[in-house]
Amino acid sequence: MEPVIQITREPLNREALLAAVAAPEIGGIVIFEGVVRNHARGKQIRYLEYDAYPEMAEQQIRRIVEEARQRWGAERVAVAHRLGRVEIGEASVIIVVATPHRAEAFEACRYIIDTLKTTVPIWKKEVSLDGEAWVEG
């Protein structure tokens, strides 16, 4: 299937992403969901705000998913990333990988999130009780 890639200001819909990767040949589905946590670097977080270079972010995600397809045969993948203000406990990113056997789904999902975090131009700003700052590395 063509991978599902969403970069959106709307709340992420895990069920819709799961439905998108479903297929009779699938034996395992791994979901990574990154959620906003109430603390970071000793600060109490109020909420996060995400910004992206959207066209390049989508292109980079597409490339990462293609690498996962080639390395682990992960043919059914959905990636969604939220932009704008995201509250504590809400999902900022969801990655769903479905494969015939579970090992490949775990490997591919881990690869996609780790690579996404370091190469895809999406930034987050932490808004804490002390102020706000864009997070670097």
């Binding site: 990154g34 910004d51 992206a52 270079y53 066209e55 390049m56 292109q59 780790d114 975090k117 370091t118 190469t119 895809v120 131009p121 999406i122 930034w123 987050k124 700003k125 864009w134 997070v135 670097e136 590395g137």
Partner: protein
């Protein structure tokens, strides 16, 4: 020649705009454009120094020579987050 510069995240907040057009001499590379922007917006300089560069949505080295109508974006270090 003219190139288009787009700003995101912290850069956009510093510059106060999403994009601008920059007129540069033929043969200007990314580093040259970065120097012009640092001169125009002095508060940008430190963050531009630690940013990666993208031209037309691809990461490029700073010695990449620019062409008319290129879209230049500086990519500040990404948040990443501990694994």
């Amino acid at each position: 020649m003219k190139i288009r510069v787009r700003y995101f995240a912290g850069l956009r907040e510093i510059v106060g705009q999403d994009a601008e057009t920059l007129t540069v001499p033929e043969g200007t590379d990314v580093a040259g454009a970065r120097a012009l922007l640092s001169a125009r917006h002095s508060r940008l300089q430190p963050i531009l120094e630690r940013s990666l560069c993208a031209v037309n949505r691809e990461y490029v080295p700073a010695d990449r020579v620019l062409q008319e109508d290129d879209e230049l974006v500086f990519i500040p270090p990404l948040g990443g987050g501990a694994a």
